[in-house]
Subunit: 344 residues, 2 copies
DNA sequence: ATTTTTTGTTTAAACGATTAAGCTTACATT
DNA sequence: AATGTAAGCTTAATCGTTTAAACAAAAAAT
């Protein structure tokens, strides 16, 4: 039943011409290749009649371009990345590209494997959310001359294209906002990581305190190991609250940390924001279900994803395209979890 | 710098033999093709030295197999599907397949476009979460003889491979559980849809009431239009609560409906479960953040995803593979939102 | 009328791998 | 010595497209 695929040859046969001519016509090169007017029309008609679909594989083999983009993210089951993936996928499709997604689980080794699988599949370029310790991979791509754009994170010491939010400012804004609302004892729960964006989030927090002449207490800054998140977040919160100067507010440096933290805060029957004010990075419907709407830093995910794709596609179309490094602003969405205390 | 790709030809040249021989050796056909022992070793050595990576495109062009699977889901930004996608992706990679994901947004037309893009890309097979009105697409695949497995949903009137949960039983369990916990006035908020899984969820609910000699009130069953979810969920809840016999408990037929519903319940300052008990389909960390842990039907996502991939891969390896239709059980995770009333 | 140019088309190589079929040798069998 | 057969390797076609180069015929220029 399934009538086999029609190829250029089939059309050529039916039109009584060579495949070359058909190729010229169907790839819009009639002018340059001075194809006869009538035969061109005839060829197009036949192609339409037979419902000709060019063979992507053959095209790719010949041209070296697959019109495929590799997207390497931390974890597709994390709503932040799932959303980004969704946007990247849509945007890429609109530009004629297909996306292959891989989750690195924040492990450089997995990311390396993915990278190689995708290079092997001849993706034209990459959009990458780098995991810790994956510098080598970035250098590798540069050496291989494979276009790529880093998303959400980048390396301070490597010159690359990237699209991220201004993490320093975002974190600073979160801290300043809490301070302006009367909180003075403010903790930060972040990941223990060498990744620049995390360093920046910590730096922004510290800067907010410093600029408001607040002295940070060593128990207020916690760096959690990714693989022990549940245990360590609990310990961090316990410690922050039982310090000699306990915190009145906590900033979570990622959505994942916040989810764990809020769960534990529920468990400990602490009231937000009466006992503890909260500001968090990231967003997801989870925050909407919390009894006290959570103040969070809204990342312009749509913009981030779209811009990354645009940038990459520009580089694919024009390899001479200069480097671009784009910082976007995260918007602090102020809700109840951080605004009970009256401003001093 | 970027040393260009090494091909069979390069190896052949270096070894002083024809590409055919190299191909035989590297594809493990030395025995059948009686390649000389020494030269075989030599070829393997050279291949390793040059770090030869076979060209997937060429292989695919020749063989007609791309080792690529198309995954069409409703929406990657929905945590349920993101999780499924994640699992499918991992499992497929373990079997040597690459996954291309597309979101249909529950629109048959988008799904149709996706399908064609992916067919054009020569995916070997599909895993599909069908959207309403996409029967034609299923028939199309059958006619084209392209292997596929339906996931999460299927069509009662079309014979296909599929992997889903037993929606009737799951819904029945939810209803029966509430009844056993003393609730008699139970509402269901579902989507207005012809999709079989939704019909089954409604049927299960009705059956639970009936079997317990409870008479359903017409205001208790609400079918929401997907595109007006926010407005209609609110209206549904309002209506259910202001009916002459108001509901004491609500079952949400999907995670998305629950998120919307719970938000509104918060807004109306209703207490769960004192004012209203809740049971919902689906799961996501959102439910963990709710002040009152939500009783939900836990779908065996890991199993669903893995099994779908396994099934598809089996069909790809052996086209004669018979049809399989797999129903799995959703487990009711009982938590506080449905258990305050004492069993009668 | 001859040469040049233009126009329209075909040939064939290339992308990289696979594989049936053919070609040499060397060896075994009679 | 003549024949058969295995072993070891090469040739060439194939998958479907693209594209430089060659070619033939018609039109324009001399």
């Amino acid at each position: 039943m399934s009538k086999k695929k029609v190829s250029l040859k089939d059309i050529a046969q039916k039109a009584g011409v060579s495949t070359a001519l058909v190729s010229y016509v169907l790839s819009g090169k009639e002018k340059e290749s001075r194809v006869g007017k009538e035969i061109a029309v005839e060829i197009k008609k036949i192609a339409k009649d037979l419902n000709y679909q060019p063979n992507h594989l053959a095209k790719s083999l010949r041209s070296g371009k697959t019109f495929t983009i590799g997207l390497i993210i931390a974890d597709l089951s994390n709503p932040f990345f799932a959303n980004i993936a969704r946007i990247v996928e849509d945007e890429a499709r609109n530009s004629g590209y297909t996306v292959i997604i891989g989750s690195s689980d924040e492990q450089a080794e997995k990311s390396w494997d993915l990278l190689n699988v995708l290079i092997n599949r001849h993706v034209d370029g990459f959009i990458i959310v780098s995991s810790e310790g994956s510098e080598k991979q970035v250098y590798h791509l540069k050496e291989m001359n494979i276009p790529f754009v880093l998303l959400d994170r980048h390396f301070a010491e490597i010159q690359t294209d990237f699209v991220t939010i201004n993490n320093f400012k975002a974190s600073y804004d979160a801290g300043a906002h809490l301070i302006e609302n009367g909180y003075q004892h403010i903790g930060l729960i972040a990941y223990k990581s060498n990744l620049f964006h995390m360093k920046e989030r910590i730096r922004g927090y510290l800067h907010a305190l410093k600029e408001h002449q607040l002295v940070m207490h060593k128990h207020w800054l916690k760096e959690i190991r990714f693989n022990y998140i549940e245990k360590e977040v609990k310990a961090a919160i316990d410690d922050m609250l039982s310090a000699d100067i306990p915190v009145e507010a906590i900033i979570f440096a990622t959505y994942g940390l916040a989810v764990n933290g809020l769960k534990y805060i529920n468990e400990r029957q602490l009231n937000v924001p009466a006992d503890l004010a909260i500001v968090s990075f990231g967003q997801a419907e989870g925050f909407d279900l919390y009894y006290c709407p959570i103040t969070y830093l809204k990342q312009p995910m749509e913009d981030l994803g779209k811009t990354a794709v645009e940038l990459l596609v520009k580089k694919l179309k024009n390899p001479e395209q200069g480097m671009q490094q784009i910082l976007m602003e995260a918007k602090l969405m102020i809700r109840d979890s951080s605004t009970i205390k009256v401003a001093t």
